[in-house]
Structures are given as structure tokens and as C-alpha cells.
Amino acid sequence: MSGEFAVVGTRIAQPDGPAKATGEAVFAGDVRLPGMLIGKVLRSPYANALVRSIDISGAAALPGVVCVLTPDDVTDWNTFDRGMKDMPLIAGGYRIPPEEAVVNRHPRHFGDAVAAVAAVSEHVAEQALALLAVEYEQLPFVLDPEEAIKPGAPQVSPEAPGNIGKHLTYPFPSGDVEQALAEADVVVEGSFRTPKQEHCTQETAASVAYVDSAGRLNVYSQCQLAHLARRELAHIFKMPVHKVKVLTPFIGGSFGQRGSLCAEPLAAALALTSRRPVRLVFSREDHFTSLESRTGFKRVTVKMGFKRDGTLTAIKTDMLGFLGAYMACGPMASVIGMSLVMGLYRCDNRAGEADMVMTNTPPSGAMRGFGNEVMSFAVEQLMDEAAERLGMDPVELRLMNAKHQGDVAPFGLNLESTYLEDCLRLGGRAFGWRPKAEITSAAVEKGVAETKGGPRVRRGVGMCAMNHCSGAAPLYLEHSNAIVKFNEDGSVNLTVHPAPVGSHIWGALSQICAEELGIRAEDVNIVTGDTDVTLFEYGSDASRSTYAIGGATKRAAQQAKEQLLAFAAEKLDAQVEDLEIRDGVVYVAQAPDRSCPVGDLCYDAIYSFGGHATNFAGKQSFEPEWNSPIYGAYFAEVEVDTLTGRVKVPRFVTAMDCGTAINPMSVEGQIEGGLQQGLGYALTENYAIDPQTGVVQTTNYDSYKVPGSMDMPESTVLIVDEPDPKGPFGAKGVGEPGMVGIAPAIANAIYDAVGVRMREVPITPEAILAALADQDRE
């Protein structure tokens, strides 16, 4: 497909690559300002407590300590919702109560901030923290969502009676689920459990803030949603929005975590109080104990009904999620997950609900997949189970129920492009997928020692299907802006504000801009990272940057191009309709001798003495009212050691219908990164909280295990390169989907290998052995 494009579809090097490779790129923690102080945060050692008093005399007397912030010092400021997302259009436009203070008198979870210091060095700041004498009154706490909703349980928040943070229903219900289940020929059901997962960003959260001589608060922020961060910081500190300037440096990973405010409010508060620049860099321990991690679910119960021929007739879900001590972004994980997974297949009867429960644990929030991975883990295993009971191949069952163009898309819109069938067929072919009976007989080949009449190591294969969104229309605000300005040499400046979190977004936007203008991608300069300069941008989340900011970019480029061509038409004595731009030159169709370089036209327009001086520039606001779902198929091969329970994943194939791949290299990178993150979710990452105390036990990588390169399977990524009618040059979003289908595909492969259904992630060796022992007893 990309053959028709000059720039889109090519594997360009990233414009920000050299700066990152040489170390020139500035990340938040690299920022150094004259007179800058170092901030540090004191965190509660208890799951629920009241700060009775804080004696700051020792800390304040320590030479080099400039400022100490206690709960008494922040009462003039507003409390806030770190998730900043009080605008979902579904569920009656619900609002998240702004319950959090910069530092809290009532810390509600282990790791909640209770005080902060700013000092001349990290050493002094650390010593100052140690000198803060806090008197706590410990309060009863509740950690488990099932306990939390029982009568008489300790109340986590006054905003959540009975600890129900939000009760949410599936926004697109249809039919009569109970009747359809009663009438179904085959009903499969299961209860699943998924944990919190930490984002494990390469760079930890960091912010530098200072108040300039004009009284403006300047904040270096890693927030994915810079303009929302500006609005929220202005709200917290009771300043007009124009008095806050948010600067976006390079960001060392986010995966959804920087969709919320992290270090910014504390850094800004210390800067406002000390009147000095303050740098605050969170430790890895700060991450695990105070930032949002993936929303966990204590229980996800799913029931699905099928006709004898395999037609899916009903799907019903019930979710119990844990939000932690602040609601933030967590509740929406249920709605997004239900919407995406229940919208994956044709099904007439759908209903679902979720109780999102508050507990005295660090908050939950958005992470790559945002609920889709949870529901996929449940539903795609049940699809597998249904296929077995129906005597069908799992791929065939999914093909049979797949949605087609013209069906209703997961978020209730018209589905304009889906190539799930191509994903299933191409992926299956590359993987060597065969009906189960054949695979099982061929799989019995590897094994060190014979046990229980079979090989010790059993091989299995599994697969699953997936769809995800390109942005979150119509559930969330969708509003992007771009400015395209021609320079006098024919290059352009593209002013946009995506979050440079490592997803190659600068490259993708420069390719979209260059393609539209007929120039080279390297002639597009990205101007970004300053809310004074950029127009409003909702930001980079929900796999929307290429799709939505790319859409704004294409439209702004088109507008600038129209101005250029009108000027060129006059100069070349031709009709605008007859002009085209290739390789930076404007040509007249059928008259190749009549042409003019774009640079000459721009120069003439700018350095004009004829009264027609102009600088070609386009500015477009874009509010996508649609969302083109991306489709994918995942195929996993596993080896299960029946003696130790260890699962290895030697091979993985992912086929993705991502629309036009703007840069196939970036698409492959996203999908392989997703595979690694999904592998951790499926097998290794186990966020642990002491059930007796509420203390977070996994606070660094010695106890929290992310898979490394040695754990990675041999991976094949297939791109189904078919253009979407809505996305810029046919592109869809591809940031999140990579991780979504990993756990269900692996779980299905484990079943194929050893015949046990794993209903909980991470799938540990002990859990496998326990399941095998249960199987023996049966």
C-alpha cells in the first residue's frame, strides 16, 4: 500500500535519534538552573494514618535546608485529581473528586506524601527528611476490595460510601443477555484475576519548577498531557492559566503513567515556597509506592453463550477492580476494557458492570491497554474454551464471529475498516498454525526425562484476537492542533505538542507533514514542548498521537500547501488543480519543463517587494469524532516444564492491522516492546503488598521482575498494511495494542501444552504446579 507514498511507509531514522544517542537530549532530570535546589519527599510508612504533628525544627535548622513543606503549609492551595480527566463523556460525564493535596495530613496509603523539603544538595535534603519528626495516629485500613465492600469496613474516602469509588456499566449494552444465555447451546464462563502492574519507565518521574521574575510558574513536566497539566497546576496553585508555563523535555518512557501528574505538584509547591528553582526526581521506590500502576482486578467474571454452529450470541461481564486510595484514572479501565473486548466480535446481547473499589493501597491508573488486557485475558481464554467445546479450531471460531466493515465499532461508531481476518490468516500462516489435534501429536518431541507417561517439557500453541482504539472518541475529549509554517528555504516548522515518550512520534508527524507537502521528512522541524508556543493539545494517550495529532498535522499542512500552490499557480501561469509537489519542487502536470522549487516560492513570498508579502502557514484544530479500531492476532508457542512449572515462550507471532504503517520500523518497535511488557504481565511481574500491613513489598527491580532480553521469544511482527479511511494517510494508532494479547495467547498455549486453564496473572511456576496437581486429582 505504501507504494503510492513518497515519505509515508519509509523506515526513516528518527529526528530526535542523534540527540538521544549523543546525550544532547535533555530529560527532566538533566535540567540545571542557577541556584537550583533539590527536593525530597517524606512518605507515610502506614497504610492509613493521621499526621498529628510534624516537628520541623531539626530539619529547618540544618544548614542548606531552604524550605520544608508540611500539611499546614499547603492549606491555601486546592486539592486536585492527579488524573486530570474530569471530562469523559460516558457514564453521565462523571467527575473524579479532587481529594489529594500536595502533601497530605491524612495519608491514605503506604507511600502517600506527608512532607517535602528543598535543600542545596541531595545529601542535605536527605538528612533533612531524616530530621523531620512526625507523630502519626494509625488508623484502621483495608487492602482487599472484597473486604472493602463489606459492611463495617474502614472507609477509604468520604467521597466513596461503602468504598465503591465508581459503579460503572458497559456503555453500549444491547439485547437481553440473560435470555440469550438461557437459550445458548454452549455457555462458557470463568472468573479471572489480574494484578497491578508497574509501568517501569526507564526514566523515573522528575520535574523542575521555578518562578520567574514575571511571577510565572515554569514547570518542566513529563506529563503526556501538557496542556491539561498546565490547567491543573494553575488550579492547584490558584493562578490564572497564563501564569503557568509547562515545558515538555524528552521523556524516558511513560506507558500511561505520565498521563497523570507525578512529581509536578510537589516540585512546583517547593519552588513557589522557596522562590528558588527546585528539581525533584522520584526514586524507583517512590514510583512503586506513590504513582499510579495498572488497575488490578480482584475478580472479572465473564459468561459467553454460543449457538451450536459457533455464533456468539451473548456476553456478560462483572468486574471488581481495586482503585487504591485515590480514584484518579483507575475507574475508566473497566469501561475501556468492557467496550473494547465486548466490541471485538459480532454479538447481539451484551451487558456488563463493574465495581471499582477504593482500598488503602497506592492508586491505580492508566497503563498501556487500559483494561483491554484484563478483559482480553478473560474473554480470549473463554473463546478458546468455547472452540474446544464446539469442536472448532480457535482461529475458525474467531473468523466466524469477526466484525466486518459497516458493523458497529467497539465505541459505538460505524466500523469503517477492519482486517482482523487478514491478521488471523497471515499470522496463522507465518506461525504454522494447524488444527489442535495435529499440533498436539507433533508437539511431543522435547523432554529431558519422561514423567507420568509423557515428556517432562510439553510444548503448546495458543492464539487470540484483539482490537484497540486510535484515540478514545467519543469517550474522552479529542482535540488536537497543529501549525505548519513554511520557511524561506522550503522547509517547514511543524508546531505540535505530543509527548516524546519514545514512541517515535516526532518522526511519524514529520513523515505525515512531509507527505502532504511533497517535501522530505528531514525538512520538517518539530517545534514543541512549550505551552506558550504550542496550541492546545489534549496530548498523547489512548494510542492517539499519530492518528489525531497526525490528523491535525495533515490538515494544517494541507492549508499551508493551498497557499503555496495558489502562489505557484500565478507564478507558473497554471491552474492550481494542475500543480503537484514532488521532492520539494512544484510541477505543472503534463508540462514537466514548467516547475519551481518550493524554496524559491517561499523565498519570493517572504522577501516580496510587490505588496503581496506572505508567509505560507496553516493552522488547524482537529477533533476526531471517530476512532478507527486497530485489529490484531497473536500466536504463542510455549514450553511448560511439568516438573518445575516454569513456562518458556520460545516463539511469538503478532499480526497487526494498524492501517497504513507510517514508519514500519516504529510499528515493529511498538509491537515488540508491547510483547516484552505483555510477557512481564503474563509471567513475571508481581506487584506485592503485605496483606498484614499494607506495605508495598516490591519497590525495586530486585523484587519486581521485568523480563529481559534473555526472556524474550523469537518474535515475528507482521503488518497488515491496509489504509483506514479516516486516519492520516490511512494510519491507525499502534501504541498500546502490542501488550494486550500476550497473556491470553500464552494462557491458551499453556492449556494446549498441559491442559490446565490459568485464570490469574502472573502465571507463576507454583501456580502451574498447583494446577497440574489439581488435574491429577480429578
Binding site: E122, H123, E126, T699, P707, M710, D711, E766
Partner: protein, 295 residues
């Protein structure tokens, strides 16, 4: 929580003798630093806050690998795990030690961390002690009062505790040669990921004697007790007998009972059983017609 290092004095002695003198002078206020891979972490976590560090890195006299058919292998404590893992001498005569050294940490840790430092740390879940106790390694210690030689299984007295006094240095690790008909291997299982810490490790030596019986067997277990231990009851079951599959399995189960793991205890015991069974089952055929030992 990892924090900035607190200030300390730093000494670089030019000889072992000078190092011992410095140790005698500073005693408990000092710490010896070799590769620093463990010590620096402990200091960043404030588990240790030494006033001074005595750096051994420059002492070439503590960096050697020598083999003699009678005396066996002599290892300098400053040898890094990577140096031992790739040493032709170690690989030829004590492959199980090379295997274990190659399993320590990550490439960076193996290139910096030393075997002496690893043994002196005496952590419960280290990879080098299980094969070394199975090989009946000894340590030569030097202090102001002179030298003494301590068998490795008497060197550790508990988790992170050794008989080394604050003014002593480990100056040599001695591994006696395997008897004829002897073979050994190291088997391990990591906690979660491939490059993770070891959840259970077993260094096993089997010696085939006349009559095709197990003349000797030594089973060193790591990560499943406060320190590396010998599974002597399991060894006794096998010694003098033919290691038929049933008996090997029984011995493996006995070894599992001898383990005293704390966390994930049932699973670690189970792994001991699997690893010991696997090791002996693999080793026995290798010992047939062996001219000399094969570690």
C-alpha cells in the same frame, strides 16, 4: 531505598601485607572493597556505612588461577566471575565452577564481582558456594597472627556471617582435585527471569568406584538454607550403592528434606529434589571409564 554514598576514606594498599595492616588498624570501621558489586549496594541502602574502604583492586598477587594434578586448583580471590568462567584450566578440571560463575548476576556483575568478595559476603543465595562446598574447597586466610586454612563449609556461620575476623583477608581458594572416576555439575533454577537470582542451586560431585557403585557423592545446596550446605543424609543414602533411578529419587527427596528454605519453602524444596535428581542422573553415565576427575 538506594541513596547517595556517605563520605568515607579510601585506601589503596600496595601489598597484601599493607592491606592486613590497614585492616588491623581500622578493624570494624573499615570494609574491604574488591569488585564492589555487593558492598556499594549495601552502602547505598545504608546497611553498611564504613568509615573507610580498603581497595584491593591493585593487588595483582591476589589474582591468579593455577592448577596442579596433586594440589588441585588455586584461585586468587580477586579473580572475577567472568575470568573464572572463561579460564581454560577451570573449564577443563572444574567445569561446574565455571558454570556457576557464569550464572552469577549479569555480564556487568561478572566482570566486576570477584569470587573472594562473593564468598566473604556469605549471602544465602549465591551461585559459587554450592559447587565449591561439593568440591570441598578451602580458604586460606591471612591476618596479623599469620595464616590459617578453613574448609568452605566451616567458613560461613550463618547468613552474611563468616569466621573471618575484621583484620583477616582471604588470600587463596584451594580446590582439591577430583578422584579418578569423579564428575560434577552445577544445576540451578532462577527466581523469576532468566538472569534473576538463584532460587535453588545444587552443586553435585559423583565418584564411580569399583563394582560400579557410587564410591563417593557430595551434594552442595545453595539458596535453600541460611548458607550453602552439604546434603549429607542424601549423600549417605547413595554412597556405596548403585544409583538406580529409584534410589536417586529417594536421595533427592532426602536432600530436599535437609534444605531449610524460608520464603517459597515448599517450592524450593521441590526444586532441590528436581535439581539433585537431574544432576545425579546426568552425571552417573559420565563417570563410566573416566581416567581422571571431571568436575
Amino acid at each position: 531505598m538506594y541513596r547517595l554514598l556517605t563520605p568515607f576514606d579510601y585506601f589503596e594498599p600496595q601489598s597484601v601485607r599493607e592491606a592486613v595492616e590497614l585492616l588491623a588498624r581500622f578493624g570494624h570501621r573499615a570494609r574491604v572493597i574488591a569488585g564492589g558489586t555487593d558492598l556499594v549496594i549495601s552502602m547505598k541502602k545504608r546497611q553498611l556505612t564504613p568509615e573507610c574502604l580498603i581497595a584491593l583492586a591493585g593487588l595483582e598477587e591476589l589474582r591468579f588461577i593455577e592448577f596442579d594434578p596433586v594440589a588441585g586448583l588455586r584461585l586468587g580471590p580477586l579473580c572475577t566471575h567472568a575470568e573464572i568462567a572463561r579460564s581454560p584450566l577451570v573449564r577443563e578440571h572444574f567445569g561446574m565452577l565455571a558454570t556457576a560463575c557464569n550464572e552469577v548476576g549479569t555480564p556487568q556483575v561478572r566482570n566486576m564481582g570477584t569470587i573472594g568478595g562473593n564468598l566473604c559476603k556469605a549471602g544465602p543465595s549465591q551461585d559459587t558456594p554450592p559447587p565449591l562446598v561439593a568440591l570441598e574447597a578451602k580458604l586460606r586466610l591471612l591476618g596479623p597472627q599469620g595464616e590459617r586454612v578453613v574448609p568452605l563449609d566451616q567458613f560461613c556461620t550463618g547468613p552474611f556471617c563468616t569466621v573471618l575476623s575484621s583484620d583477616e583477608l582471604v588470600v587463596e581458594i584451594l580446590i582439591p582435585p577430583l578422584p579418578p572416576g569423579g564428575a560434577g555439575c552445577y544445576k540451578w533454577f532462577t527466581k523469576v527471569t532468566v538472569t534473576d537470582e538463584t532460587l535453588a542451586g545444587a552443586g553435585v560431585v559423583v565418584v564411580r568406584g569399583p563394582g560400579d557403585v557410587c564410591a563417593d557423592v557430595r551434594i552442595g545446596l545453595g539458596s535453600v538454607a541460611p548458607m550453602a550446605i552439604r546434603a549429607r543424609k542424601a549423600e549417605a543414602l547413595l554412597r556405596g550403592n548403585r544409583p538406580a533411578p529409584g534410589l536417586v529419587w529417594e536421595a533427592a527427596e532426602r536432600a530436599a528434606q535437609e534444605a531449610e528454605p524460608r520464603s517459597r519453602a515448599a517450592y524450593r524444596r521441590h526444586l532441590v529434589k528436581v535439581l539433585v535428581n537431574e544432576a545425579i542422573t546426568e552425571l552417573w553415565p559420565l563417570t563410566a571409564d573416566l581416567p581422571g576427575g571431571l568436575g
